[in-house]
């Protein structure tokens, strides 16, 4: 080992208070490379079937990849655990500076099991690892926790912090982990797993170096990656407009989630888009560690009652789900509500999904003791609901804190029909009715409804070609092949651990060159795809072991039954027979049986028998 990798994992058992350093075996990295792959393998091996995600046997892992912490552009880290929101495999990615620091501390990852009897935080200062009391931090929001710990750990040291807010402490099933600085392992409730372990924060300080095998070849590959980033129009758009640059596109194409996904276009989209944010919020570009793109922006709310609040760019997903989906077109209010979610430790995507469902249920008159403040487009009521969720401080807050699937189960009265999720994960801000390939990607995403495991919209609506092929937007046939490829390739890159956006610019060959030069292993672009396919099958095995089958590879009723009312794909929906056709094709290409379980021959081919 020694090149690209640090060669060891740090295991912490919070029940017994023991700390172990375990060698990272080459047989493991040869097969799974890094982040996502290692996490999937450890989860499969170590977390017994049926384990409650809040049980002390669940693992919470912070993992890096062989390129994290180097000059390779835009590398990140990931959290892997069993999700309390979905009950299946969860991987959630974070930028910022935490993952590189874990490597500088001498580890490829930190694996946490057990459960501390009282609130604690973990201090990792190179070889020295301490489990410290955190009662004084319990209850603090993510920003205050991070700042307090930095002060406490002392002068001259700059620890990198990961922490949960009140939502994680209160086991809100879609609580996030805030990673320095204000980058989030947002999805699937990783923060609730951290809360269940009574772990308020992790502080990491590292002074070791990451070595690469072939320095000249590595720098050459870095320069090539930088060149590709500079030449890419997608990257140019991310640099200038950040992710909210997608709002006008999604609105024009009828892909926005609006009023709980009832519509695909929003009258107020221009009030919350990139141009509005540039004019009213942003002051400068900011970047995650090692990223030349700097898609993030930071600024300040200058008017209204939230004046003076420093806010990040309101990312596309947050602007769409907390804005359009809740009928909010006041940018300052949306920016503040997203800031509030970040501070309280709530995933703003899931929060937008849950609240969209709830406001529709209120509108339909199904909530008896309803408040006049609860309605689409009413920021005060939404702010109150967010606090009630994070603190579980009201009956409704407590129900919504369980996520949209469980909330709809509890509220009942047919409201499951407009609970928009796949496998319990509230879907992202891309309504799929006018892009069926995107629907298939949601149906088959290994962590539930997710746009980051495959984003066929780029090809179906964006006009991008795949291997010379052009895709017709509403066609059902042929989409499975695209989705399978994207899932495999992106899972391969999620082991590095790549940034989703930089991957729009950096080519597969260049990623492979970076890995080759860093590790000395003979990895090609095709290998990355194969490793991705192996990982995808392993996460599927894990999910099948937890009871996932074909019937749950499905779409919410809203997307299967209700025609989209507006936009260029108006009138369209993804019917149950469309879903079946795509799934049949998908399973066949994957080498899975009709119920969606990998054939033995598939596992053998991938070295997973």
């Amino acid at each position: 080992m020694g090149y690209g990798y640090m060669g060891q994992l740090l295991w912490i058992d919070l029940s017994s208070g023991t700390v172990e350093k375990e060698e990272l075996k080459e047989t493991l990295t040869d097969k799974f490379l890094g982040g996502k792959g290692l996490g999937a393998k450890l989860l499969w091996d170590q977390v017994p079937p049926g384990t409650d995600p809040y049980d002390e046997n669940n693992l919470l892992m912070f993992l890096s990849g062989p390129l994290t912490g180097t000059l390779a552009p835009s590398m990140r880290g990931c959290v892997v655990t069993k999700s309390p929101l979905t009950g299946i495999f969860a991987d959630s990615y974070f930028g910022g500076s935490l993952a590189p620091e874990i490597k500088y501390a001498g580890y490829d990852g930190i694996v946490i099991k057990g459960k501390a009897p009282e609130p604690v935080y973990l201090l990792v200062e190179g070889e020295r690892v301490e489990i410290r009391p955190a009662k004084h931090l319990w209850g603090l929001d993510t920003f205050k926790t991070s700042w307090t710990l930095k002060q406490e750990i002392g002068e001259g040291k700059d620890p990198k912090i990961a922490c949960i807010g009140p939502a994680g402490e209160n086991l809100v099933r879609f609580a996030l982990i805030s990673c320095e600085y204000n980058r989030h392992a947002g999805r699937c409730g990783c923060g609730a797993v951290m809360g269940s372990k009574n772990l308020k924060a992790i502080a990491v300080i590292g002074e070791r170096g990451v070595q690469v095998k072939d320095k000249a070849a590595f720098i050459e590959a870095v320069n090539r990656a930088r060149h590709e980033l500079r030449e890419s129009p997608y990257i140019e758009a991310f640099r200038i407009d950040g992710t909210p640059g997608s709002i006008p596109f999604a609105d024009a194409e009828g892909l926005l989630p609006v009023f709980n996904y009832r519509q695909g276009t929003f009258h107020g989209s221009r009030k919350i888009d990139n141009e509005a944010q540039r004019e009213r919020l942003w002051l400068k570009d900011t970047a995650c560690f090692s990223c030349p793109v700097a898609c993030s922006k930071v600024g300040v709310i200058r008017r209204g009652k939230h004046r003076g609040t420093i806010v990040d760019v309101v990312e596309y997903e947050s602007a769409a789900l907390m804005g359009a989906n809740l009928g909010l077109d006041n940018l300052e209010e949306v920016a503040y509500l997203v800031y509030l979610c970040d501070a309280l430790g709530l995933d703003s995507m899931s929060t937008g999904g849950v609240l969209g469902y709830f406001l529709e249920t209120v509108e339909r008159g199904l909530i008896p003791a309803s408040s006049s403040q609860w309605g689409f487009g009413k920021p005060e009521g939404i702010e109150e609901l967010i606090k009630q969720i994070a603190y579980r401080s009201s009956e409704i807050g407590n129900i919504l804190a369980e996520g949209v699937k469980r909330a709809a189960g509890a509220i009942g009265q047919g409201s499951e029909k407009w609970a928009v999720h796949v496998k319990g994960l509230e879907t992202p801000a891309w309504g799929p009715r006018g892009a069926p390939g995107m629907g298939l990607a949601y149906m088959t995403g290994d962590r539930g409804g997710c746009h980051q495991r495959a984003f066929p919209i780029l090809y179906e609506v964006g006009g991008e070609r795949w291997r010379g092929r052009k895709f017709s937007r509403l066609e059902i046939e042929g989409k499975a092949e695209l989705v399978v490829y994207l899932q495999n390739y992106l899972a391969g890159l999620d082991t590095l651990v790549k940034c989703d956006f930089a991957a729009y610019g950096i080519t597969a060959d260049t990623y492979a060159s970076l890995v080759r030069a860093a590790t000395g292993k003979d990895i090609t672009a095709a290998d990355l795809e194969l490793i991705g396919e192996r990982i995808w099958n392993l996460t599927r095995l894990f999910n099948c072991r937890e009871g996932i089958e074909r019937d749950q590879d499905s779409l919410p009723a809203r997307f299967q039954e209700e025609p989209l009312p507006d936009g260029p794909a108006a009138g369209h929906f993804i019917s149950p027979s469309d879903c079946d056709k795509m799934l049949d094709e998908y399973y066949q290409l994957r080498g899975w049986d009709a119920r969606g379980r990998p054939f033995a021959s598939t596992l053998e081919r991938l070295g997973l028998s």
Binding site: G209, Q211, K215, K284, D285, T286, A287, I310
Partner: protein, 130 residues
């Protein structure tokens, strides 16, 4: 030869300068050994790259007991004379002198082609000729 000039209004906090500097100097990626720093203000609105000022009134030069630091256009450390006592690093007002394996190192502008300037994607660092 000049000195580095930082433009904090442009700095995105990506820290690529620290990675390039440490790699150039140690052959590894180890930002804490970079011969410069980037300070992040609490609110995240400002990143301040801190580089060697090539001070006219140079404390490092004054405190060095073994005359290992001299000024030849810029301030340089002669590794052969350096005893690794650490006084220069201790009294550097910018905290950009690093002790490594018993020798002190400071920014000597990469023979006029600073790696940090080359790698910066934001134009937040430049070599100012004085």
């Amino acid at each position: 030869m000049g000195r580095l000039r930082a433009k904090p209004d442009k700095c995105t906090g990506c820290n690529l300068c620290l990675l390039a500097c440490s790699f150039n100097f140690t052959g590894e990626f180890t930002p804490h050994l970079a011969l410069m720093r980037v300070e992040r203000r609490r609110d995240g609105l400002l990143f301040q790259p801190i580089t060697c000022e090539q001070c006219e009134n140079a404390f490092c030069l004054k405190v060095c007991p073994s005359k290992a630091i001299s000024r030849e256009e810029i301030l340089k450390i002669d590794a052969n004379n350096c005893t690794g006592c650490g006084l220069c690093a201790e009294y550097c007002p910018w905290k950009v002198i690093i002790l490594r394996e018993g020798t002190a190192y400071k920014c000597e502008l990469c023979q006029g082609q600073p790696e940090c300037v080359k790698v910066c994607p934001a134009g937040a660092l430049e070599l100012e000729v004085v």
